[in-house]
């Protein structure tokens, strides 16, 4: 039937012979078959690349300039060396980096431990597990602005409930946000309260997905509860733990709103973190070029942190 249709077409001197057309079509089909995945993925990949790479390229361009706006348009002056020199001597940025690392490690670890403990406890519940899960969701659902204001009030040394309770117990007026020695701890506590439920939910899902027969077998073999946790449950749960840890680490690196509301980076620079400092340079000091450089360095630091974690996980064989 196909032959008849082709033969009905007007034949011209320039038209290729039918065998050539057929082989070209076959080759195209072969090419399509061989690169099917690439061809179908390409539009989406291009879109994602244009949405992610293009802003980074613009950030790189900005990082090498001093930028000012006027009604006549954006004015850029080359200032890469100047910006790099500033960064090298910008002690607040490096202090913010240290604070951020302390914040990320401490809060994520605390959330992991608490989340795991809660998940283990909830897994054993025969009744009300759904209610617990719903209640645990609450802190995640509260807007960060409300959390910041709520905790700021609770920490208030004159009117806050925390200061009141500590005063009743120890006779000391505690001002956690006002002291350089306790301010970072205070914001870490808020983060742990806010995000432990996230860890709990991921780890509980992980625990519920573990093969029951393996745990039963260890029970039959006479393993104690602690041994079961140490040698059976935790190794099997490790992928879920790793995922939860990575997600929360990334979130903790980006912490901004609660610190902005609770301390704005003070007292002094005791709670200054990378996101907050970059925000101040960008939007308060209006230094777009230098702010872009800080953003790039921050992105590189986060990528480096994640790369180290991924290498460690590969060696462990869990990711």
């Amino acid at each position: 039937m196909a032959t008849i249709l082709v033969s009905k077409r007007p034949v011209t001197d320039s038209a290729p012979p039918q065998s050539v057309v057929s082989s070209r079509r076959t080759r195209l089909l072969d090419l399509f078959d061989r690169h099917f995945r690439l061809i179908t993925i390409a539009p989406a990949a291009l879109l994602i690349l244009s949405l992610t790479v293009a802003p980074v390229i613009e950030l790189v361009r900005m990082a090498g300039a001093r930028i000012s706006f006027t009604n006549d348009g954006v004015q850029r002056t080359a200032a890469l060396a100047e910006n790099i020199s500033r960064l090298a001597n910008d002690w607040i940025y490096w202090r913010a980096l240290l604070n951020t690392l302390a914040f990320v490690v401490t809060s994520t670890f605390a959330e992991l431990v608490l989340g795991l403990m809660l998940a283990l406890a909830a897994q054993r519940m025969t009744r009300g597990k759904g209610v617990v899960r719903t209640l645990m969701l609450m802190p995640i659902l509260i807007p960060p602005v409300a959390i910041g204001n709520m905790w700021r009030l609770m920490y208030n040394p004159e009117f806050g409930i925390i200061a009141y309770v500590v005063d009743q117990i120890a006779g000391v007026r505690l001002d956690m946000l006002g002291s350089t020695s306790t301010a970072l701890l205070a914001v870490i506590i808020v983060d742990v309260w806010h995000w432990t439920p996230f860890m709990f939910l991921i780890l509980l899902a992980g625990l519920e997905g573990l093969p029951e027969e393996v745990i039963q077998a260890s029970h039959v073999d006479g393993a104690s509860s602690l041994q079961r946790l140490r040698f059976v449950v935790l190794p099997m749960l490790w992928p879920a733990i790793a995922i939860a840890f990575v997600f929360r680490s990334i979130g903790a690196f980006k912490v901004f709103d609660q610190i902005y509301l609770l301390t704005s980076g003070g007292p002094g620079v005791s709670t200054e973190v990378l996101s907050l400092y970059v925000f101040k340079v960008f939007f308060q000091s209006n230094e777009l070029g230098y702010g872009a450089l800080l953003s790039l360095v921050t992105i590189a630091i986060v990528c480096g942190y994640l790369a180290v974690f991924r290498i460690a996980q590969r060696r462990k064989g869990t990711l």
């Binding site: 006549d72 100047e82 607040i92 620079v269 308060q284 000091s285 209006n286």
Partner: protein, 435 residues
Amino acid sequence: MTTLTRLLGSSALLASTLLASQVLSAEPITILINTSPWYGGFEALVEKYEADTGNKVNIDAVPLGGLLEKARNAVRGPSGEYDIINLSNAWAVEFYAGNYLTALTDIDPTFSFGDNIIDADGMLYWNKDRQWPTKDGGVPMAFSPNANTHLWYYRTDQIEKPPETWDDVLKTCQTKGDAANYSVVLRGARGNPIRFAFSTFMLSFGGSIEKDAPNGDFTVTFNSPEVKRALQLYIKLAKECGPPNPGSIDQGEMIQYIVAGKVKQAGIVVAAQAQMDDPEKSAVVGKIGYAVMPRPADGENKDVWGSWQMGIPANVSAGRKEAAMEFIKYFLTDEAQTYYAEAGGIPVSRTVLEGPLSEQEKFRWMKPYSQASLNAKQVLQYPEGAEIEQIIGLRLNQALIGELSVNEALNTAATEIHDVFVRSGRKTGLLPPLQ
């Protein structure tokens, strides 16, 4: 008169009324504003303006934190959505110098503020040649919905007469046995809060940040002996007379201390007065008196402006600019200013601030505020101001919490400010470091 005649007559009347209303009423305008404590008064006045004139005004009220970026985005495009934008004095120069606002006299050449309107040390004007906000050779660029400076709030039931000097404040600090827990509370949080509050002390001791910025001399004077005396006093008052850990106290906490009856006195911006006599928010209703900020025994009463400026963006149509101008002229009338004050706003008309309204108990803050407005100065009126505020705000805070000595804080800040001026090509220099 036949039915047809009546019908034709009515139609003609209706048509002419519609036509007239089209011609007379101004285009709708949209105002970008922050939800500060005086916002309620502004909103009430806008409603009155709509009722009085039939003109339509939309308000986009945003938290202070988001205002600057919204304003920047609104003026940088080819056409803007806002016809009036509210700007802090810390940002206004950026908008003036960038030609983002239209001079009010470009819209109405006959416009002038008059002598009774507070111009916040010339902040409403822009001198393009000198690139400086000043009435001298400048053109009116904005009006102020709240010029905003400090008042000294004090408990009339615990302090007989308002302190005239800082020494008087220190004396009250040493008096024990009063109901209030603390004698004085100061604003010590890092950044704008401490920079703004400390500026009053600095100016009253004759200190400054730079030598003569309006005339191009940016020699840094922030580590002068005058500024040192001011900072020593600030720290002494905060630590010896105020609540613990002053380095984290911002305006919200100061107001809380006052309205809860836990402190005898504080220097707070005028806009906070509205909360003092509100029985739902205050335990000290009728017990707060107002005065100008104290001065050094050998110095002058000085204060710093934290003024708000409302300007008309350049990127809106001529019709909308004229409509915005109509609102501005209305806002500045004494009748509107009086209504504004009654609704909780802070008027900028001295005629109103010193008129019959000021005799009422509710408005006892008006005369001290009018007096304070004569003492107040602007600081950091140049594009580097925002960056320098961050430097000063950090170093003062570090001195307050004991991370740096007074000398270290001021010397370090001076060096950092100097670096900023060098980078931006200013004529600058440094004083010898404090020893």
